[in-house]
């Protein structure tokens, strides 16, 4: 799974039948220090997340499992809203041994 922040929403009326009712959120991947990293992407949502919230999402076939038994054609889905991030202190730089 990957850490990110919801920065927007995409609206789509005409879409695959199996995507009916899905919300499409724009997610900015972030580092553990919560700085933007990489390109934004669109995720379906299984948590009720809103704009500005820190979330984590899953990619691949697993992205449709929260909606079981429905099988919406999605490859990225938000599966959790992050309350807080606790980073270890005094770790070697870069996690190197």
């Amino acid at each position: 799974m990957y850490l990110g922040r919801v920065v927007g929403r995409v609206w789509s009326t005409v879409k695959d039948e199996n995507l009916r009712g899905q919300r499409f959120l724009i997610v900015q991947p972030v580092t553990p220090g919560l700085e933007s990293a990489g390109r934004r992407l669109i995720c379906t949502d299984s948590t009720g997340a809103g704009t500005g919230e820190l979330v984590y999402w899953v990619r691949g076939r697993e992205a449709s499992f929260p909606f079981h038994p429905a099988e919406p054609p999605t490859d990225t889905t938000i599966v959790g809203i992050v309350d807080s991030v606790h980073l270890g202190k005094n770790l070697p730089a870069g996690g190197a041994s």
Partner: protein, 93 residues
Amino acid sequence: MLIARVIGELVATEKHPSHEGRKLLLVQPLNLDGSDRGQAVVALDAVDAGVGDKVLLVTEGFSAMTAVGRPQSPIDMAVIGFIDHVDLLPGVS
């Protein structure tokens, strides 16, 4: 599978039910020389790993779901073991 270092933990109250009861770890994948390999990721914990531990990370759905015992769940990464040490041929890094 990748070698990785646990660098933090997440707290998430609102999450998929299949993630309940497992630690959410922030994990930094590593190259063999110990340098960072791409961005840190979020993985469920299957072995009670903690911050600072060097671990084995699976990055694919079936193996991750199986490791945490939650089939048909939205889980694509899991920490599945601790690394004691790594042996390499001379000249390989």
